[in-house]
């Protein structure tokens, strides 16, 4: 890696290492974001071509909000890196459906990636510095080397998990018997636990509990982190309904559940501040090294506070790929009391009502 790149990585690492509590000023973030933009414009030819097409270049962009966003689909169509891809130390793939090509996120180093995971996770899931047995309802990173979620689980388990932490998905199977046995043991021992997994994995667990007439009362201090949608892999539940089940079947109150918003294409995850502030909230906190924007898809410009639009993320920890990513998720944003923008995720941009009588890209399957 050349010195310019490493210097920039060092600068960003310093920013992330300040932690979550101290917000970046607008000027501070603007400087970092534009530095990274100039770097990525120079190093990634595909991105540069897109910026040139839009006439938004490091010379013309005067504010971080004007930096062009790479759509998530671009991670499927191109190798989006700012380094020779054969030097990648890790690559993560989006799950998607089989007929769809996977989006790929390549990393030159894991330093920024791990720094972003660690500090943010600690602040939002373990504000009390608890060291709990982590019960992870995903495959291990060894089993799923291309899953960014498994990778993150591996990183946080290694750093924060008690010795008896474990993964409960093996060979694509959620081991419900083992999970139930371990939950029983922890309950008898009054040992608080930390459950982590996708929303659909939890639905499978809860369906099993209902079928087997199991109801747990996990020790105080137990908590859960749930993430992701359902993608047809279990019956779909609203978040509110899911959280009722956490309370009824595991004894984990809604103030003990944190929702994570993460994407394969990003390095930084976003959590609601429920555990951190001790009060249920759906707003996602944005750590100081990132920004979230909600874009009005009708105008392409930033939506007003609390107006729905497409979520766009700027994540300077994504130095090696694309800092500015246009997601396909709808959401709203607002400024919190300290003037920091937070956002709420309202779901995928797919599935709009069919207004006319034509089939469209969303409701016809070709192939």
């Amino acid at each position: 890696m050349d010195q310019t790149a490493l210097n920039l990585q060092k600068q960003i690492l310093a920013l992330i290492s300040r932690g979550v509590a101290q917000a970046t000023t607008e000027a501070e973030f603007d400087q970092s974001a534009r530095d990274v933009f100039a770097f990525q414009y120079e190093r990634c030819a595909v991105y540069r071509a897109y910026c040139d097409r839009r006439k938004q270049t490091p010379q013309s962009v005067a504010h971080w909000k004007e930096i062009p966003a790479a759509p998530t689909s671009a991670f499927k169509d191109f190798v989006l890196t700012c380094f020779p891809v054969e030097q990648a130390v890790a690559e993560f793939h989006t799950s998607g459906t089989t007929r769809e090509q996977a989006g790929k996120h390549f990393l030159a180093t894991l330093e920024l990636y791990h720094a972003a995971i660690s500090l943010n996770f600690k602040a939002h899931l373990l504000p009390d510095f608890a060291r709990l047995p982590m019960m992870v309802l995903t495959p291990s990173p060894e089993e799923a080397p291309y899953s960014s979620l498994s990778h993150m689980m591996g990183a946080v388990m290694e750093e924060f998990g008690a010795d008896d932490s474990a993964y409960y998905v093996e060979d694509g199977q959620l081991h419900l018997e083992k999970l139930v046995r371990d939950l029983c043991e922890a309950q008898w021992a009054h040992q608080p636990v930390f459950l982590l997994g996708t929303a659909f994995a939890f639905v499978h667990l809860f369906d099993h509990c209902v079928k087997e007439k199991l109801e747990f009362e996990m020790a105080e201090g137990s908590r859960a982190m749930e993430t992701g949608g359902f993608k047809g892999r279990s019956r779909e539940l609203s978040k509110a309904d899911l959280y009722v089940l956490f309370e009824r079947l595991l004894g984990i109150p809604t103030t003990g559940i944190v929702n994570e918003y993460g994407m394969t294409e990003l390095s930084t995850q976003f959590y609601d501040a429920t555990l951190r502030v001790g009060k249920r909230t759906d707003w996602k906190a944005v750590p100081p090294w990132a920004r979230a924007l909600v874009i009005d898809p009708n105008t392409g410009r930033e939506a007003a506070d609390n107006e729905r639009g497409l979520i766009r993320i700027l994540d300077v920890a994504n130095l090696w790929s694309m800092m500015c990513v246009q997601t396909e998720d709808l959401g709203i944003a607002q400024q919190n009391d300290s003037g920091v923008v937070e956002f709420e995720v309202l779901g995928r941009a797919a599935g709009a009502e069919v207004r006319g009588c034509s089939l469209n890209a969303e409701n016809i399957v070709v192939e």
């Binding site: 897109y50 790479a70 898809p297 009708n298 105008t299 392409g300 709009a352 034509s358 890209a361 192939e367």
Partner: protein, 433 residues
């Protein structure tokens, strides 16, 4: 006001009483004249019906006011004495079979309409619903019309415009609305129905078909898609501006949300001008159409879909020369995507159109193999002998309509919608002799 079981039953009984009177005192020819006059009354620039539709339809349909005006011209311009008469004559052999026994071959026959026809309208494209109501009135049957929440305006206003000409005939049709999910109301509507015309997605159609039961004559129209094919003979310097304008019209009307709206134009290579030239000319024509008839306001979800689609292709086009994207500046009004790959890709619609090169008709047939059963209309240019051969191949694949580009959105009143007659499947016959 939303319907209740009582209001539905009452509407049914009112329309049935009106039917009895109308059957005694109106000939089919008189009904044709009434409907033709009602439609004509919409077309005048200062028509009160036009004015009301322009005022109320945009907020429900999502179309701009200028588009509503265009839709009025398209819809009511197609309904006149000749086209209505032709519809009956073509489907029943002779319009008078609805009035009396007529000689058909060696036997005299009379067509007996259903007693109560229930119409389930869907979506925001008014034409099918208006034609449906016309068919019901031509048959002088009782009509209960469940309007679409996306267009409660046109069907109700049309019935009112018929009332202005002939109040008793208009009494044969009642429009109302309820949620299709409200089973009790749907069942109440179907209680005495012996004919049903239903529009909607496949799921809705099959659910209604099941509810209606075996004895009911049921016409179901599902969601479809369309595309166009430009042969190399049409790709001349002289022809292109006119062709592009016609293609832009077909792709822009109804903001491309109708089942006759093309998703893709395949353009044959080796013409005087190439497919990319067609795409560029189409983009100019889309812009010109937008300047005259703006796109309606999109919901956040719809706009997000268009943005997602368009941005993905813009990103590709910036560095992959197999793609070119032309789009309206600053907004999602229209997008033309040139894509070198011949495979059929459905558009996100809302005036987002693909242009793809092809080696000829044969290749197009290969590309659409998998979606052939979903195709409504294929637009062609020019309509020459080779295109007629192509139409034959399309017909064998299950495509129901092939027409000239520019005419995709103007089916004749007596076209075979989804390959079937409009009226003939609703009547039964009594033979004399």
């Amino acid at each position: 006001m939303s319907a209740t079981v009582e209001t539905i039953r009452e509407a049914v009984s009112r329309t049935r009483e009106a039917r009895e009177r109308v059957q005694q005192h109106r000939t089919t020819d008189a009904v044709i004249a009434v409907l033709a006059q009602a439609a004509k009354n919409w077309l005048a620039p200062n028509s009160p019906w036009r004015k009301q539709a322009a005022e109320y339809a945009p907020r429900h349909t999502g179309f701009s006011e200028a588009m509503v005006q265009e839709i009025i011209d398209l819809t009511f311009g197609a309904i006149n004495y000749e086209s209505l008469g032709e519809l009956l004559d073509r489907e029943l052999g002779n319009r008078r079979v609805l009035d009396e026994f007529c000689l058909r071959g060696r036997v005299q026959s009379r067509a007996i309409p259903p007693r109560l026809l229930v119409h389930f309208l869907a979506g925001n494209v008014p034409m099918p619903g208006i034609v449906s109501i016309c068919c019901g009135l031509l048959l002088r049957t009782a009509n209960l019309v469940k309007v679409s929440p996306r267009d409660p305006v046109f069907p109700s206003l049309f019935i009112e415009s018929v009332r202005e000409v002939d109040a008793e005939l208009a009494d044969c049709a009642a429009s109302t609305d309820w949620s299709r999910g409200d089973l009790a109301l749907t069942q109440a509507a179907l209680e005495d129905a012996d004919g049903v015309i239903a529009y909607g997605d496949d799921h809705t159609i099959s659910a209604l078909r099941q509810l209606a039961g075996q004895q009911v004559r049921f016409l179901g129209y599902g969601h479809k898609l369309s595309f166009g094919v430009v042969a190399k003979e049409a790709m001349t310097e002289e022809n292109l501006p006119h062709l592009a304008q016609a293609a832009a019209f077909d792709a822009s009307v109804y903001d491309q949300l109708g089942c006759l709206s093309p998703h893709v134009y395949y353009v044959e290579e080796r013409g005087q001008l190439g497919p990319r030239k067609f795409a560029a000319a189409l983009a100019d024509a889309m812009a010109a159409y937008q300047a005259r008839i703006p796109h309606g306001q999109l919901s956040v979800e719809e706009a997000a879909q268009v943005t997602k689609f368009r941005t993905g292709y813009e990103f590709r086009a910036a560095s992959d020369k197999r793609f070119v994207v032309w789009n309206s500046p600053e907004s999602n009004d229209w997008t033309v995507i040139y894509d070198d790959s011949p495979s059929f890709i459905p558009s996100c619609l809302n005036r987002t159109i693909f242009v793809k090169p092809t080696d000829g008709y044969k290749r197009v047939l290969d590309a659409i193999q998998k979606i052939a059963s979903n195709v409504s209309t294929v637009g062609v240019a020019p309509m020459h002998e080779r295109a007629v051969g192509f139409a034959g191949d399309l017909a064998r694949m299950g495509v129901h309509r092939v027409c000239a580009i520019g005419q995709m959105q103007r089916p004749s009143l007596s076209w075979h919608h989804d390959g079937r007659p409009n009226l003939a499947d609703l009547v039964s016959w009594t033979d004399l002799g």
